[in-house]
Homo-oligomer: 471 residues x 2
């Protein structure tokens, strides 16, 4: 275990040692039940059918779009069909952005059209478009150091490439240019931002994703080239002649729209007021059908709860499945859920939002005195390849407001080696999901959910960082 | 050798046996020279730089387009820069088709936009578009058997999937629906044809490619869905409700345009009238930058000839590099070249038009009495992984008119396992080429070209199937 623990978790090692005996004291029957449910789920999972229905019928479901509304209707019906109780839609107001049409062309020295996508939230160029010389800057830090005289009037190009890692750790360092690059460039007088896609593939498909404008700076258009198209632009820039781009983008912001968190439950028998919350986000980007992001999280958690329903056994605590509105474009659903929730009743949360890769580690963030329960859960999953993880998990974007308000989390970590080949592209479609891996996820969520909903005592509370209202 | 020979080649086995002694009689010095050139080429190949310049500067070059003209200008300059003699452009008239804009949407029962591309040569839908119920038929044979009453007024969907094979043999069976599907459907009253892309990948990128209209039938629009989009359509069709599609396509045919075969030579010292012809096609489809189809063939053959130039040795025969115009959309350049050529002076041809995968086999079509020379050439390449091949090769599309007029051919066969993931899509870009494999190709073409240009005696003649004028 310790080999995989980051420094922060070492603080808890004495606690683990103290509770070493308690591990044995976890109810053996509960472990047996959990493993039995796990094995049945692995054989009988219908997650694929749920995911197939969501992707092939509803398809893209960007917050505020007609697809988003179709997804809410789909989820309400599906939750009812699967037999959940207290199925309801919790109103959420979401931003509504449309990407419109985009064309990007090298106009000098060697004209060529480039494949690109608008970043989520980008303004358009106006009908006249923007044509300007390209200034390539290796990264945001270098850009921030440049004098405005060098940047003014240019289109800034940030060419950095994302690294591939099993745990997705290449994403953080690569994504800053997408999130804040436009405003840094605009603060120096740039007319537009072009980035190499934040993605690990070589497909001719751009990776979109949310960007934010600093309100103190002019809002300039921001687009991402596919990796092969970034190569073309870099090649022409390397040949010593000035390079110009033309960008025409008709993206626009519309009035905020109504969406919903969709919620269903298996009410608890003994402790119905205590909630184990599991879920994913219902919205997706508009380019793909949202199979790995986040149809997989939706299907895995719905199916895990369904497996418990099918068993005929009633959990002691309430199991609540929440399909969050608009994760991609500002966590609207998560924020609203946390604002209205009685967070103290949520004894544990688990979120699936990293595709359907095989689970290889169980991370967590629980109170030190409850770590022995995490250890017991990891033990019962070890034969599926699940290693011990650290106790400093952030849980996931949608449950992070609950975590910050004190709720412990479990985080089954998935193999993300190929996740960022697909993430936020048109390629996010059902065929990218491996059915066996999806079912391994379902089995693991089923076992963990059952265990958490029935274990003696809770997982403690975390230090409160923020109350939901303060966000 | 025999293990790999198809039945037809068995006919020649007695010839091989007869010439077994002659193998030893191939000039040992020539073999030594060829292997030496091969080894130098492998180390010093500049094929990547040629390919990079063509794809990253010129990019897409569909026959008749501005990119096609840019490619001709590029090739003339490059041939001169590389030091070839008699560099010239041979005028060729080519068709000129523009794909325009395409949108394909499922309108019922579950609306969703689908990713598709127009097939090359398709007519448009008119501004009003076409909306009609979808009739899925497993293949062309089944379609041909249906009564017109069942097909009339529908959009026919042919869902067959191409198989992946190292030798690309899945292409032939899969491509018939692309070539002739529209006219078969139109003959039964269909309003449009939709096919699953002829490709082995799962990217959200359609595969284009030439289609032909039977002049006796109405011309209806023809489009290819990407594989994931075909899955979506198949899924909705499988749910028991009628499915409708809307197609809007603004493709159009323009007036024929001027293009050119670009030709350069290394004149022979002793037998300048005898020609060894090598080459590929200069045009590409409009979606990608034509890296594997056929920038690779262009770069491999130009660089092989350049390696011979660099050696300072003069070949006995003339080595002619021909970059053919418009292979993709009707073999215009190949037909014109053969029409004007003195075919009898062409003692051997080699064409690269299957990407840049590693060469694993040397196939041929030479007169039986010359087979021992092919055997000697394969022997000198065996350590690079090149196995003996059959003597029934078709050579390649662009040299097939010469072959039919009696010219023998060599065919270094490349590993095409991944070729049809990329073929005729936007994904046909430089990054898909492996530099080491590209250079292995160059080394092999260099050795074979040198050998053929210097070997004692020729490769015989093939039975004449057609004279170029009769085509």
């Amino acid at each position: 275990m310790s080999r995989l623990l980051p420094a922060i978790a070492l603080l808890f090692l004495p606690a683990i040692a103290l509770h070493a005996q308690d591990t044995a004291s976890v109810d053996a029957d509960l472990v047996k039940q959990s493993v039995s449910l796990r094995n049945i789920a692995m054989q009988n999972s219908n997650a694929w059918e749920i995911l197939e229905s969501l992707t092939q019928e509803v398809g893209p479901r960007l917050a505020g779009s007609p697809g988003d509304q179709a997804a809410v209707a789909w989820a309400m019906l599906k939750m009812q069909d699967l037999g959940f109780e207290n199925v309801r839609a919790q109103d959420v107001t979401v931003p509504h952005w449309e990407r419109g049409q985009l064309s990007v062309q090298i106009t000098n020295p060697h004209p060529q059209s480039l494949v690109a996508v608008a970043l989520g939230g980008s303004v358009g160029t106006g009908e006249e478009g923007i044509e300007a010389p390209v200034l390539m800057v290796q990264n945001l830090e270098e850009l921030a150091k440049l004098p405005a005289s060098q940047v003014e009037g240019t289109i800034v190009f940030l060419p950095g490439r994302m690294e591939r890692h099993k745990d997705g750790s290449g994403y953080g360092p690569a994504v800053a240019k997408r999130s804040s690059g436009a405003s840094v460039a605009a603060s120096l007088g740039a007319r537009a931002l072009v980035i190499r896609s934040v993605g690990t593939d070589n497909n001719r498909l751009g990776h979109t994703g949310a960007m934010r404008y600093d309100l103190a700076q002019p809002r300039i258009p921001a687009v991402a080239l596919s990796n092969p198209d970034s190569d073309i632009l870099e090649y022409q820039l390397s040949q010593g002649q000035p390079v110009s781009l033309r960008i025409n983008l008709s993206a626009r912001h519309l009035d905020p729209a109504r969406s919903a968190n969709v919620i269903g439950e298996i009410p608890g028998s003994d402790l119905p007021e205590e909630i184990v919350i599991i879920g994913g986000h219902l919205d997706s980007w508009d380019l793909g059908t949202g199979a790995i992001d986040d149809g997989a999280g939706v299907a895995i958690t719905m199916e895990a709860a369904r497996q418990i329903l099918l068993s005929g056994k009633r959990p002691k605590r309430t199991i609540r499945v929440v399909l969050f509105a608009n994760e991609e474009f500002g966590l609207s659903g998560a924020t609203e859920y946390a604002r209205l929730a009685e967070v103290e009743k949520h004894i544990l949360g688990m979120e699936g939002d990293f595709g359907a890769g095989k689970v290889w580690q169980l991370a967590s963030r629980v109170a030190p005195e409850a770590l022995y329960k995490v250890e017991a859960m990891q033990n019962m999953l070890a034969d599926l390849g699940v290693e011990p993880g650290s106790n400093d998990s952030g849980g996931g974007a949608d449950i992070s407001p609950l975590l910050k308000a004190g709720m412990p989390v479990l985080a089954p970590r998935q193999d993300g080696t190929e996740y960022f080949d697909i993430h936020h592209t048109a390629n996010d479609t059902l065929d990218k999901v491996n059915r066996d891996d999806l079912d391994q996820n379902v089995a693991i969520y089923t076992a963990l959910t059952w265990f958490a909903a029935n274990v003696e005592g809770d997982f403690g509370r975390l230090p409160v960082e923020e109350t939901p209202e303060s966000q």
